[in-house]
Point group: D2
Chain length 353, copies 4
């Protein structure tokens, strides 16, 4: 049962393979009358696109989105917004060596076994290239809920951690460096780390933290579609994600009740926010914050054993153009998925008003 749609009221369905003609999607449910800032949409795409800096993949794609429907005279019409991003810089020949080979810790093997065939070029559908479509939809979602602020940033690369509470950060600095860490000093360390890793033909994992501010009270739908459950699913659906925690997260599991409880102020806000802005699956008006763990990219420029279709172990070496660390480019994707979740619950909340 295919799973290429996300959201209920602000629903995105995506299509496209890494090296096909185009990727794209349909946004169904964007309310009518929203005046779109197309430059802002393209900006978000640019943040995600490859080839921006020396610490990301050198594949060059203009990643220009073309809107085909659902917009009239600059405004959404309430009808589905179809869009495409054409693939222009495919070097499919780079991938002929994996036609009959399953790379370790890639989705080659599982796609082949599930579907019986696969578009092996550049990972096909399993490539993170698909997330460009998410970024387009997320950029529109951001505009729909523009009083709500969503800021993601790189909070760790390997063992280099940003330890400051997010309240001490200046989010306007996130875009000031190529690793997207709003602490300049730490950003430089992270960049150096990634460069070193790349030189080794290696890759490295990291985490992205996201803060959502100015959230109305009441978003989220118990008991299964809790706000954090849907945020978790959204993040876990991003390529290479291995974990999600919100508020106190895994640390909270070591705490006592008296330490963990967030006492109220008279206006309903809380003195602390270990809850992460959500109680019982419903936003309480405090900041929502969460952290997402990304594994190291599986393609390394070293010789590795792989499995071929005949069941033999063969030696292969990564080719193609890959990211040494996925985290900098993941920052806008995390924001996009967060925007999709929040926009959906924002619309859901209107039902009962």
């Amino acid at each position: 049962m295919a799973g290429n749609s996300f959201g209920k009221l602000f629903k995105l369905t995506t299509f496209g393979e890494s090296h096909g003609i185009a990727i794209g999607g349909i946004i169904d449910g964007c309310p009518a009358g929203l005046e779109l800032d197309f430059e802002a949409i393209q900006n978000e795409l640019n943040r995600r696109k490859p080839g921006q800096s020396e610490i990301v993949t050198q594949r060059k794609e203009p990643d220009t989105v073309e809107f085909l429907s659902g917009i009239f005279e600059g405004k959404t019409t309430g009808t589905p917004i179809g869009f495409t991003i054409h693939n222009t810089n495919q070097k499919s020949k780079d991938y002929s060596h994996i036609k009959d080979v399953y790379r370790p810790s890639h989705a080659d093997y599982t796609y082949q076994k599930k579907y019986g065939l696969r578009d092996y070029r550049g990972g096909g559908r399993s490539s993170a290239r698909e997330t460009a479509s998410r970024v387009v939809a997320g950029a529109i979602a951001k505009q729909l809920i523009n009083s709500i602020k969503i800021n993601a940033f790189t909070s760790s690369v390997g063992d280099i951690f940003l330890d400051k509470p997010y309240q001490e950060l200046d989010f306007t600095k996130t875009e000031a460096n190529t690793v997207r860490c709003p602490d300049d000093e730490l950003a430089n360390k992270m960049i150096d780390k990634i460069k070193e890793i790349r030189k080794q033909g290696e890759t490295i994992g990291g985490t992205v933290t996201c803060v959502i501010q100015n959230v109305p009270i009441g978003l989220g739908e118990p008991v299964f579609d809790k706000l954090h459950a849907e945020l978790g699913k959204a993040m876990l659906s991003i390529n290479a994600v291995k974990g999600f925690e919100y508020g106190s997260g895994f640390c909270g599991a070591m705490m006592k009740g008296s330490e963990h409880n967030d006492l109220f102020n008279e206006d309903g806000s809380t003195k602390t926010n270990l809850s992460g802005g959500i109680q019982g699956g419903i936003s309480n008006g405090m900041d929502i914050y969460f952290r997402v763990a990304f594994k190291p990219v599986a393609t390394i420029i070293q010789k590795q054993d792989a499995l071929d279709a005949s069941g033999a172990i063969v030696e292969m070496q990564g080719k193609g153009r890959h990211d040494p660390c996925v985290v900098p480019r993941a920052v806008p994707i995390v924001e996009a998925m967060a925007a999709l979740v929040i926009a959906d619950y924002y619309l859901q909340n209107k039902i009962y008003q």
Copy 2:
């Protein structure tokens, strides 16, 4: 947009408040012809039910499930399975003190703000009592996919961690102690810890680890409904959960590609399993394992400030019967939710065969 259903093909919808007449649910989509082991279902309910030991809440509920439909002569008929669990031991008077008071880190405030009114007795719908319905459905799901083995256990209480790899554990020992940790020695430490915490009028967090074995290759639906994304959502939908990680999880975010990649054996299995049995959102036939973080229960038997409906801070003290640590009773709930996810994808996988 109400969110009381879980699953697509094996779909559970639950209803019920902690102190209402009954809780229950409907399972829609259980295939016909499954001969049910009713004792096994009741057993799962008994594992979750309150009052089983001195380290859990002393509320006594028989938690007897009554099936109303969908079963004929002991077998499922393919029609919806309706069931109820009557509430018998409500002490609603215990809760009159919170009628107009929002307890810290409970869902009282958010429910009141979202819905404009709430059944405050025992937390109403936000009570973990609702999870009994999940356990019923999960128990049936387990029987549907009975060649797949799902074993959860307590992997930490506060700062007491079970550090052994799960491969060294004997899951048959999980039920041998009241904390549900398959390592006897550590279990005793955990039990002592919980007793001490209870004496303090405190509560404590913990984690549950779950291992799913003998999983067919091919479960999971990219790109949004990846197997681990749905598992994550399922776990995050359980009361008190703050985090989810699978495979290498947050540790994976500190690793290099060469360390993290799982090299193949000739039969398609892998030598290591940092992937946690899932590649590209699709099961690869290796063990699936994940870890779930639970916060400390918010109700503590100490004086705390709370907020009343008029906007004043008032002092209150926890009453009612509560768990000092939610983790032992969460073990069967984690299994139940895992079973629901796996059963659903198991059925989904049949579509394209």
Copy 3:
């Protein structure tokens, strides 16, 4: 993929077999704060229940609904409303003769083939008894949208047709006779017809017309979930329905454009209403009206050939207590389904306001 749920925002899931312990359902998505008129709900059930008059089945069921959740101090809480109607007057022995026999034009054969087994007692799940749950939910939906008026009535029994335009009818007279036709004189003819049919051991078909008035402009969701498409599905999902038409319906297919077009008044209303209150799948504020065709009940009290499980043709004679004409009892069911559709779109419409 089980299909026992109806609606998206005001969602009903039903369970239950004709001769099981209980039938019932869950309404998920009813907004909080609705003060329920329980007597009105029971009234609707009474309209549908068997044994009310000499022209319907003599099975006697109190059809008393018990609400288990989602209501607190008389008001809905926004959480799922679980309810049951216990079966009390099952005469399952009446059905032992069809255990291994498939009655003509019943669902015995298709259920057996689809599911491999079936609860044969009284038709099991395929019995129209299930519609009692729809009536409960519809009665609540009516209260939610109480400014919108939904009136169904019997518009034909066999070849006796009510030919007056609905505007000339007094809907308060619908309940004044047992056949539910608001024209007294015609009602008597219909009643006589049904009595005669019953004497013959026969059954007869008929139609129900439904008029929905005071509908806000804008309900309906192109291009697939058009208002009339969902109304059509709702009606076709009722037992024994063979056709649905709205506005000009099948007659419209014989007309010319100049005859069929509804010219506007200055206030946006139209001078005629062949459109049936819907343009492009969206309500235009005019009355919505549609007609539903019901086949004759398949159970007749005459000898008929049936098929047994071994593949032999066997003679059988209808037993059990059956309706000679389903139409009188179908009237409240049609209203209930219409209320569910309208309530859902009413809530959907709030999303974008």
Copy 4:
């Protein structure tokens, strides 16, 4: 809550306005490994496309479909199939006169009121041009279920009815004439009628009958998603449809049980088929047949009163290129929607096997 998706397992989402850049869609859920016959797909589009004959609109569109994803080396990959059909022959200026005018019995008024703005060019989203996307998806669905035969044909134009039972028709003759009626003689009468109607600047309604043969037993999902309920919704979602009946339909409502019941043969087939191949919402293996009523096209080339945005009645005359009778071009659309429904249930049926 936007409604631009159809189907659950074989799911089509469409986008596009009549005079936008492109229309198109995404098919999510087509199983992998289906070798596509692209010519057959284009053929279906050609059957629907405008400008084919003198009895349909003279707008000329090549209606060439471009597939962007989901297909590799001629076979489906199990990933979403994105496709576009570019609009090339828009004469948007034809429509400037309706910018601020609502045409009678068009969706101009309801779209404007629902969304607050609209792409008025050629009816925008409400144009039947959208159905080209349905035809693409339906053509693929047909290939997926290629042992099941779906044949639609024109069964009436105005008061000219095809009275023969479908069993006496030769479906290979349907495409032999421009009106798509498999009875040559009657086809000529229909064509003459449409020519005459066109000369009058008029339009005329009609009906399409569809026969589905070689259907496996067991398709359909009670109690709400009955096979005929979903077929009905599918048909009612097509532009200009006013009614749907299957099997005995509205005639069945005039019959007695003894006349209407379909007696069994020993092999489970039935001697008659007033049921229309469906019992209890589940296919019984007999032919499924149904009839769909289309109203006359609202655009007539005569002066008519319309409403302008300021609330004044203004005289207008139809411009643009329109069909005098929608029925001939509706035939492939009815088939496409039927194919989508059957393909979906065909896949659903695999779940429980």
